[in-house]
Symmetry: C2
Subunit: 220 residues, 2 copies
Amino acid sequence: MKIGILGTGVVGRTLGTKLVSLGHAVTMGSRSESNKAAAAWAKAAGKGAATGTFAAAAKAGEVVLNCTSGQHALEAVALAGSDNLNGKILVDVSNPLDFSHGMPPTLTVCNTDSLAEQIQRAFPGIRVVKALNTVNSAVMVDPSLVPGEHELFLCGNERAAKAKVAELLGELGWTRDRLVDLGDITAARATEMLLPFWARAMTKFGHANFNFHLAVGGPA
Amino acid sequence: MKIGILGTGVVGRTLGTKLVSLGHAVTMGSRSESNKAAAAWAKAAGKGAATGTFAAAAKAGEVVLNCTSGQHALEAVALAGSDNLNGKILVDVSNPLDFSHGMPPTLTVCNTDSLAEQIQRAFPGIRVVKALNTVNSAVMVDPSLVPGEHELFLCGNERAAKAKVAELLGELGWTRDRLVDLGDITAARATEMLLPFWARAMTKFGHANFNFHLAVGGPA
């Protein structure tokens, strides 16, 4: 499949490399056409890896992954262009983290709104699915780094879009039993608000090879 | 041990009944000395159960559990009285939930502050430990309602206070392997912010017999 990636950070590069290795044609987009991190990534990732502007990546992808930092996400999607994105699935991997006050980070939006909802509201023609934002990039592409049962949480307004994203996640190793659909895009509030906990846990464990598991008993 | 409970809701009553059954002397406190819910609870719980004002419960308890609703927590602790609470452990079980906009609830404080921190700041002589706020009351007193590995998260500024609370939690079935110390009281932001997720999960599953497990791999 043709996949666009917005963002050249470790999340975009890690997902991009894995997707190229799975045979997908990945275009990594950034603010400038001559981004050095993107060029180095494409060279290392090999055949199937291309680079360009946000708009080029959005145009090239049948599915687009937003892997920008949360503070630049809305601007990046705007630069990618609704003309290039309308009708397509945008997997929002980003989190609205604010590190300006040190660790642990706070959120720039939460509680009564979320970054994914902001993107969905600003670009109503895009099929936004929130996913992958609750694990580290290494775990995103290799769930086996964390032992036992643990899950990814999806949400979005459209069932068919979530089903398509579930397929793609399956290729990364996230089998159906590891996916929990939390409902419409407003559930992104809940998963983005896991990040303060996630950051505390990372500090405690000294690494990021962990994930949440929902242990579920029978009804009362 | 002598235990005070602030609040006569299902959380206070459930914890109170279990603690009485374990042989503790529990005083349930409420706004008025003649609270009907408290009286009915004491009658059902039997020997070891007493009732009184918030102040009476705080005075009677060596350890005090705040089981009021989050919106009334600060007022309840004020009515309990710092004279009755200073130097004692207050286990803050409450969450700053706002149901006024319907389900799922939002939080009245989050991100850069938490209810537990507000209590600790307002009453610096109290040894506040945040715990038990991430599970339903039935699960609080019976972790076996949820299968497999799952944990409670503790935080507070004083190690000795957390160790004492860990002992009490052990009596409820929360063995040491099920307790995760997240650090000082500011970590209450992280655990209180799990509640929006918790509420979505409860809606999804149709019951509250679930809990979080942190699946942890080795360092990278």
